[in-house]
Amino acid sequence: MSAFRQPSVLPGFGLTFGFTTFFLSAIVLLPLAALVLMSMSMHWKEFLDVVLDPRAIGSYRLSFGASMLAATINLVFGFIIAWTLVRYEFPGRKIIDALIDMPFALPTAVSGIALTTVFAQNGWIGQYLEPFGIKVAYTWIGVTVALTLIGMPFMVRTVQPALEEVQRDLEDAAETLGAGRFYVFRRIILPTVLPAMLTGFTLAFARAVGEYGSVIFISGNLPMKTEITPLLIVIKLEEFNYRGAAALGTVMLAISFVMLLAINLLQTWGRRRVVAVGR
């Protein structure tokens, strides 16, 4: 154990490390292992049938596609919100800052119902979109809207502290060197907050993939069209098809893990460019 032991001010490495392993195992790894084991008890053929069922494929596409789209929307607009909150002083700033956390606290079903009400064909916003042929509720757009709402605080809350750390001096220095505003933004600010933006993107994406409550109300749940994978899993559970549910869960697990790993690697690579080895 002494091989990877780091000198630290606080004693008790053994205790804390043991606790970390236990906790991770009990809460994260064991259930996941059970999930995989459960799906392993199926035949290959049976497994593939469930997993490659056209209805399942459609749900993957919606789940991961809409999550990716929502996280991307959050990447842009979450950044703008964080920027506004950090850089400007305006009346009501504190209130808006507090509102950001609302999607965290609200039961997701509530936000789902609220969004449906607003975006339904006769809803506050929906009635104005209707004449243009844009339907939000009960389409994939609605799913994206719900997932954007759910992921937004993750983005804002990770980018905010990073933006606060961008020293004004850097921008001033660039300006005296003759750089225009856009140049300063592209060459100085963006590279500095990019790692935080990637983290925010990852969190928002991960949250969106796992989201259930808010989506089922606004999506309409049409098989092949507006049915997300978590819903499909619930449907299987309600049919007492535990193994089918486990198979779908395993696929989600695999895809999520690969995507999160990819983003994390990208981030590590980016960070290594900024913070050099040693001093």
Binding site: D169, D172, A173, A174, T176, L177, T192, V274, A276, R279
Partner: protein, 583 residues
């Protein structure tokens, strides 16, 4: 001129942080802005760089007015205290940043970068990241980056602040070398007077947003004109002294030394001589004292000498502030050998060289009819604030008549050393007149709980009092962050042909204030009855103070009835100089 600042003023939420700063900086000059934190020096530097807009005034670089030109088009190089290097870029990219922005070709860029790295002695460091460099090296990169695009002016904002002493000195030398080699006009901001002395061709000392004094380091050290500069640049003892035709002496008032004027004297610690007894001094005798504390610092010996009773009240302040019963003394090796002292020893104190500050407001004397009133007056917040800022003392004086009663009047000609202070009351005019006729030359009238002025109005009634009013105004305003406004008031009946003369008088006054006293002031021309117009101006906005120059004490009551007849609601400083007898 490389850099011209003309009456530059910057306010934050109405409070001026840079107040009427004017200076001309020559080509290739190394100019140091020196001041304590919060004195507005960094703001002024940022204004020159174009990172901060100004509310008033003009900034020109090489004759080109850049007041409204953005930082990116000003062509200055700026170095920050925390380096402000782009951490995600290599040293090479950092230095080439300004060149890339200007779309310089690759080969030229490379050549320029190599030249810059040689200049700051960092050859071969091109591909390092800032995090791989030490603090001193990072600041060198910052200097190279600031110079790469060949700016006309180099600005340095506390560039050594974050470095330790040894590296600081090394970098200081590099910067001076680079500056000489390129011949680039440089402005450096610092709070460290040693740094200022080591680098500057000229130093501008700032305090409370004002550029107090500008001069060569040795000039400012030996002949400062303000208390602030005297105590901020090097160590100094400030003493109240009396000056007459024979010279300066330090005896207390009322000892029969004849008609003399109270002045503020600066004595540098190294100009003080110690001897076992008075007759063994080779310099002018000052007082007897006892050595209280000795600190050995290698070449020099620093001590604090406590003055014996009777002479303690002369000391106003020294650079270290605090207790004023001491004199700060430093002695070189040969002095230590000639006369060894130990703690607790009694010594005679002599002074080799005294510098008298040309400031007319030496101290304040609170005057009232009864002791409790005097006591209350001497604790007025505005008076205490002024005295603290001016590093001077408030003496008290109970005067049983003050021109109001016909009781016995005990005033001696010397009783009102410095400015006399009275509370605002119904008979203000009478009291002021009485004080002026009994030897006071400045009278400060204070209403109760007056607040610190944001605006100081200056008006003089006649030519005889002009010079003195300007001097007093300059002396007072150095210690306030208020703006100064000179009012000239012409009678309503002034014919149109006479009005240009009024304008000229106004501008003359402004130039004189600037040239003689370094006081920047606005000017306003008004028409109407003098006292009425002054009252109107004072009523217009809160927190104002009026400095009023007069030379006719007897006519005061009559002429300024509107101002002094009722109980004044504004702090008021009357400056009085009797007209020349032959005029």
């Amino acid at each position: 001129m490389s850099i011209t600042l003309d009456q530059v003023t910057k306010r934050y939420q109405g409070v001026p942080v840079v107040n009427d700063a004017s200076v001309d900086i020559g080509d290739g000059e190394f100019f140091v802005l020196l001041g304590p934190s919060g004195s507005g020096k960094s703001t002024l530097l940022r204004a020159v760089a174009g990172l901060t807009g100004v509310d008033h005034g003009r900034i020109a670089l090489h004759g080109r007015d850049v007041t409204h030109i953005s930082a990116r088009d000003r062509g200055v190089g700026l170095v920050f205290q925390n380096y402000a290097l782009f951490r995600h870029m290599t040293v090479a990219d950092n230095i080439e940043f300004g060149l890339r922005v200007r779309r310089m070709r690759r080969a030229e860029r490379l050549a320029r970068r190599k030249e810059m790295l040689r200049l700051v002695a960092l050859e071969g460091m091109d591909e390092r990241l800032p995090a791989q460099l030490s603090g001193g090296q990072q600041q060198r990169v910052a200097v190279a980056r600031a110079l790469a695009h060949k700016p006309e002016v180099l600005l340095l904002d506390e560039p050594f602040g974050a470095l330790d002493a040894k590296i600081r000195e090394e970098l200081r030398r590099t910067i001076r070398q680079v500056q000489r080699e390129l011949g680039i006009t440089t402005v450096l901001v610092t709070h460290d007077q040693e740094e200022a002395f080591a680098l500057a061709d000229r130093i501008g000392v700032m305090n409370l947003g004002r550029l107090l004094e500008i001069g060569r380091p040795d000039e400012l050290y030996t002949r400062p004109t303000t208390r602030f500069v005297a105590t901020f640049l090097g160590a100094a003892n400030l003493l109240l002294a009396r000056q007459n035709r024979q010279g300066v002496h330090f005896s207390t008032p009322g000892d029969g030394s004849g008609r003399s004027q109270e002045v503020v004297a600066v004595i540098r610690p190294e100009e003080i001589e110690l001897a076992p007894a008075r007759d063994q001094l080779r310099s002018t005798y000052l007082a007897e004292g006892r050595v209280d504390e000795i600190v050995f610092t290698g070449a020099l010996e620093r001590m604090r000498v406590r003055l014996n009773d009777g002479s303690t009240q002369a000391v106003l302040a020294h650079s270290n502030g605090g207790d004023t019963a001491f004199l700060e003394v430093t002695r070189a090796q040969h002095e230590q050998r000639a006369f060894q002292v130990t703690t607790g020893q009694n010594v005679a104190i002599g002074v080799r060289r005294v510098h008298v500050l040309p400031t007319p407001l030496s101290s304040f004397t609170a005057c009232a009819l009864t002791a409790p009133e005097v006591d209350r007056l001497s604790r007025e917040p505005l008076l205490v604030e002024l005295a603290t800022r001016m590093k001077t003392r408030i003496a008290t004086h109970v005067e049983p008549c003050l021109g109001i009663d016909d009781g016995p009047c005990a005033a001696t000609p010397d009783a009102f050393a410095g400015a006399a202070v009275i509370g605002a009351q119904r008979d203000t005019a009478k009291s002021v007149r009485w004080l002026l006729e009994h030897g006071a030359e400045e009278v400060l009238v204070l209403p109760q709980n007056a607040s610190s002025p944001q605006r100081v109005l200056i008006y003089w009634d006649d030519e005889a009092s002009r010079a003195a009013t300007l001097a007093v105004s300059a002396s007072l305003l150095r210690h306030l962050s208020a703006e100064a406004v000179y009012l000239d008031i012409l009678p309503d009946s002034t014919p149109a042909t006479q009005r240009p003369h009024g304008m000229r008088a106004l501008l003359d006054a402004r130039s004189e204030a600037q040239a003689v006293h370094g006081l920047e002031m606005r000017t306003e021309l008004r028409f109407g009855d003098v006292a009425g117009e002054l009252v109107r101006q004072l009523t217009e906005s809160p927190d104002q103070l009026l400095i009023l120059g007069v030379s006719d004490a007897a006519g005061l009551e009559q002429r300024f009835r509107a101002l002094l007849g009722t109980e004044p609601r504004w702090p008021l400083l009357v400056v009085y100089r009797a007209p020349e007898p032959d005029a």
